[in-house]
Symmetry: D2
Subunit: 308 residues, 4 copies
């Protein structure tokens, strides 16, 4: 007779991932959400917010490098960066690898998340918390950016939870918000946002809607994705610039050129992002491209879009 | 999207119980076994040894009262009791409720189990650890009883893990051991042992074999069972006496007589065991009775019987 | 890499049974419910209505013998029997074993269930469908009994689905219905109804409420239960008589007397029900007895009680 | 109370996919393997061999287009194609879309698989079974190719089960076999083989070993992968040519050129494969590239490699 412990996370109502559970280290309700730190045998230590995997030790580098570096390199010379969310501090860690960066302002809603990540996920934030360039604040990312922060930014990175009904991040996926962000960006500024699942079976949840919404506020928006095994799915991102950049040129960027740019501008090694990974990420498979092209929803305060 | 945590325990290879998991409080390997204290939503705090539920907060009283009181009341006036195993200290707790008892010697193999139960399962052992009548020792229950203990006993209670291949308790289910126990009992002495699953679909694992083996060493052996929800099954016990008692009289004991005996001899209330519960427990359903009658295996050192 | 098929049935929201699935033979929506015939490795062919196990090959004899024989033998000489529900035809099979019986009128709501059981579960109804004493009708069990059936009955057996909100059987568990049944019974008549889960952790769902409700309509009501492994729980029944019978005498009926009555009145062997099984079934464990005694709900059309 | 049916397929020992099961249509043991046709709510009708998903209605086009078209277009003008395996007939369907093709010889080991796919998966083989260019045979793909087939081939497609110990396909992944295939290819001939899981967490199972083994027999071998949701993983392929082609040129093939080649050479629309999908598939993420580069195993008859 045997027994076993499992973490079961739904990908869709008809499909879930069953992960062997090793420990349940932390489990508390913050003012905003349920915060858990667990360890699965497959993915290692994992941050789970409101029952949903945020990042896991085994593949968090894929998620965080994909979120940060395409935007930073598309800009080319970012000095001032704003991170909305990013509680694991791994997004800050990646931003701070860019030698051009003078200041990273990061605003996360939930102090409990930031505290528990500092304590339980030390490898996630290696080097970032002590870096004097990081200005870490607890508060509302939208209010701070639009009302409190002084000056403008070169890159805005939105590392926030999915747009779930009653979730805290819903207002950070709307046309109204994106238009305000555009005004806080310097000329040539870049915004990147995580954009939900982007796989064959779930890309229609919100990936395309976020893309179409961003296009209301930015002249060039490029969607991309990468497989995150601990998410059980390909995952989507959208990067947008205030310049009328050619999306095709972004997608088909030469491998050697991008590798050279990374070598010149990023200190330390990247584990995931390079010229070939870029081609993989930015050239979506046909079904997903077709889905984005067919998307008609634009997310506004009056017409929100919610994920499963 | 939702996620959930589960403790999955096999009842048979084709059937398992899925229990919603709340916490994983303790998880260490002792010298003898894997020791875990968990909490499930249905059964509360639970001691799990080598992946198998030993007792759970919600129904541990059923298991421990069923193990202890029928033997104690069958004896009628037990003064000296020996407990083999019993790490939760709840078996001792029940023995010590009998006002006739002057001494309970308890020997459990695994000090880690005893320590973690004292710390994590305080309600299991309420009152027993401070009772001066309890002589608690860490060691081999068989060796201690047969080689080290002085004197003889009125009742021997075997609260040990199931006979699993390579498990520590295998030698405590053999004809050889039972014959030695019989010699350590006073005249009129009683032995009781937990005896594995006793349900319709799993009573043939070892319940009958333990019964038939005890009959090699004792003139009267009576099997009984009770449903333990956290075990996912009816659970079996065998009580044996050195007197040629009439098993039918034990099974059909009058409700009023037993209720009166409990009132006279047990201090404090019992939550489970009384005259009607006795009739329920000692009158097995026909399929299980037939299975015990058809059982031909006798467990010896040379011919062990192992549970699934 | 391995894969497996499972039938997962909730016992409570925090506990489910996971059964290895072998086949999904039949799966259709009738006018009243979803009707499935499946095969699990542990329990064999199983009838599932609206996602809930009704009876399984391995232990259907326990359920059906427990439902039928205590009521029939409590009556002593039943000639005319009414079965409400009973689609598997196994309840009819057990009633027809009583040599005194001249007529069994059975009314099941769902012709699809009756048809699929005849075809897929032949061992369930062995002998009953060809027996000329059986008058099998498709229709509403309540309407037929109260409005269409001529004459009165000695025994009424309610083999119906649980009282689930929006389920078809809700009106067959009310005080109003029981009072009407009492009028359709001959002097000395007996009613028995399946009464939902009766285990330590789930007896408060409806077992006690059905008991208290029956007491509004009958002078003597006796609750009893048996473990049904394929239900994952002890299961409850209530038997009620129009005579002021002594419940204690029913519970503690002498083993020999009951065995003799069965031998005299029942043709063919019973696999489960006999004198000892009766003592096991009718003497509930203390926790469940206490729960029934503490129950204050009476089920009426105005105040229904729904199971989980 | 609710119940549900599940198909649980392990991705690794610590991770499995739980798919809601709708039907179990076919389940028989052939001379070679267990053959099942099931339907899951997420992926639709699915062929499962020895407990492992082979292809599913929702995403079979991704798998079969990825397997066939890169090899066919790398060749440029294939006239005679050999398919080893391919029981669903979907690989043949894709090959026959190439207007240059005069003959497709397909040899699958298991007639039961071919028969059940023809009957239960009609959309998989739409058009292929009636196409006079298809020469479908039941037998051993290795023996037939090497001993019985006359002439040589332009493209060899290996659509076979994974290299599992005691599985039928183990000999179709060895250096010895690949060397023999190379001799059966015309000048400029191309071989492609499915190559097992290629995700971040499972690419080290066999993807790299198959790649390194092919390099013993072919001057140019290019690995690629695509996410197959019903496999729960990125999936790997290796395409090899008898010409000393530049792998980098294959990987970075211009989108417009490939789109034009497809338009010119393939009749009917492709749902998945085009220029951008090619860039996504052929540019592996860095971790997987590093894993392939570090792979030292070469699979031979004497030193087989088995997947989990």
């Amino acid at each position: 007779m045997t027994s076993s412990f499992w973490f079961d996370e739904e990908v869709t109502p008809d499909l879930s991932m069953r992960m062997r559970l090793k420990t349940l280290t932390f489990d508390e309700q913050s003012d905003f959400q349920r915060v858990q730190v667990i360890e699965t045998a497959e993915f290692g230590t994992t941050l789970v917010l409101d029952g949903k995997t945020q990042s896991a030790k085994v593949d968090e580098y894929v998620y965080h490098e994909c979120l940060v570096h395409p935007a930073m390199l598309l800009h080319g010379n970012p000095k001032r960066v704003y991170i909305g969310g990013g509680g694991e501090l791994a997004t800050a860690r990646e931003c701070l690898k860019h030698t051009s960066v003078a200041e990273v302002v990061m605003v996360d809603l939930d102090g409990m998340v930031v505290d528990v990540c500092k304590k339980e996920l030390p490898s996630w934030n290696a080097g970032s918390t002590e870096d004097p360039r990081l200005d870490l604040r607890i508060g509302d990312a939208r209010s701070y950016l639009l009302e409190e922060s002084s000056g403008t930014f070169d890159v805005v990175v939105l590392d926030i939870s999915d747009p779930i009904e009653a979730g805290p991040a819903v207002h950070l996926y709307t046309q109204e918000f994106y238009e305000l962000v555009a005004k806080k960006l310097n000329p040539g500024g870049v915004l990147v946002t995580q954009s939900g699942p982007a796989g064959l079976i779930n890309h229609t949840e919100c990936f395309g809607a976020i893309h179409q919404t961003l296009k209301m506020a930015f002249p060039c928006v490029v969607p991309y994705s990468v497989t995150i095994p601990s998410f059980g799915s390909d995952w989507g991102f959208n990067v947008a610039t205030t310049l009328a950049t050619d999306a095709k040129a972004v997608r088909e960027r030469k491998v050697e050129d991008l590798d050279a740019a990374i070598a010149a501008k990023v200190s330390g090694d990247l584990q995931h992002y390079d010229g070939q990974s870029h081609l993989c990420m930015f050239n979506l498979i046909k079904t997903v491209r077709d889905g984005i092209a067919a998307e008609t929803r634009v997310i506004t305060e009056a017409n929100p879009v919610f994920m499963y």
